[in-house]
Symmetry: C2
Subunit: 195 residues, 2 copies
Amino acid sequence: MVAVQQEKNGHARILAAARTLFDSHGFHQTSMAELASEAQVSVGQIYRLFKSKEDIIEALVHDDADQWCKDMGALQVRLDSGELTIEQTFEQLLIQTIDEKDEALSFDILAESFRNGEVADTIGAMCQRFRVYIRSFACAANDRLSGEALDAAEEMLLACLFGLGHRSISRPRLSAEVAARRTAQMIIAALRGVQ
Amino acid sequence: MVAVQQEKNGHARILAAARTLFDSHGFHQTSMAELASEAQVSVGQIYRLFKSKEDIIEALVHDDADQWCKDMGALQVRLDSGELTIEQTFEQLLIQTIDEKDEALSFDILAESFRNGEVADTIGAMCQRFRVYIRSFACAANDRLSGEALDAAEEMLLACLFGLGHRSISRPRLSAEVAARRTAQMIIAALRGVQ
C-alpha cells in the first residue's frame, strides 16, 4: 500500500513538475533529468510511469480534458435543474475558459500535435467530448437547431471558446467578466438568429 | 545593384526555408546550420540579415500580418463599393482565415511569445492592426454598436477568427465553405442582436 501511494504521489509530482517546466522553458527544451530533479524523483521512476516525454504530454491533456468535462457536466446539471438560464450557462462556461492558464504549454502541445499523431488523436478525442456538451447547450438555446445548422453552431462555439481562452495574445481591453457576459449575449443571439 | 538583389533573394530564401523547417521540425529544434543549408546561404549571411532566430520569427509574423491586412483592406474596399454585403464580407474573411496553413509554426510562435517579450509585442501590434478592420466590419453590420458592446464584438470576432483558423485540431465535420457561410450568418445575428 505504501508503495502504491508513493507511486501515485510520484505520478502527480511528475505531472505537476512537467506542467511548470514545459510551460516556462518549453516541452522540447526540458530534459528528463531536469524533470526528475524538479519532481524529486529519479529518471528511472519517470520511465517506469511514462513511456516517453510525449506520454507525459498526453497525461497532461487527459487531466485538462477531465477537468473541463467535469466543469461542463456541472454546468449542464445547473442548467437542467433550472438554476441557470442558458445565457448564464454560456456566461459561466466562458468565465471558466477565458484567459486559460499555462498558455505557453498549451501552444507547445498544439504544435506537437501536428508532428505527433498520438498527441493529435488525444486532442481530437478531447474535442469530441467537448462537442457533446456544446451541442447540448446550443440546443438549449434554440431547440429548432438541427443538421448542418447545429454542426455549424458547434464549430462556432468551439472556435469562440478556443479563441477567448487564448485572447491574452491579442491584448484585450475588456475584463474577463465583461467579455464573458457580453459574448454570452451575442452567442444566444447568434444561435437564435439562424434558420 | 546585383549585390542588393542577391541580398533580397537571400532574405526571401531564408524566410521561406525558416517557414518550412520551423513548421516541420519546430522553431527550437531547427539549427542555424540547417536553416542555412535549406536556404542555400551561409550561416554568416543569415546573421548579416537577422540578429537571431527570434528575429526571423518576427519577420515571419510581420509578413503574415501584412498579407492578412492586405486581404482585409481589399475586403473593406469591396464592402465600401457595395460589391459585397456585410454578410458576404464576413463569409470571405472567414474563408480566408479557416484552416490556416503552417499551423505547427503558428503554435510554436505563439508559445514563444509567452517566453519572449519582443515576439509578444510583435503579435500584440499585429492584432491591433486586425482590430481596426474587425471593428469597422462590426459597425457595418450594426451601426448602433459603440462603447463596451463594440469592444465585446471585437473580442468575439477575433476569437472566432482565431478559433476557426485553428479548427483542424478539433477535427471538424463541415467543409470550410459551409462553416464560413453559416458562421457569417451567426455573426450577423450576434452583432445585430446586442443592445
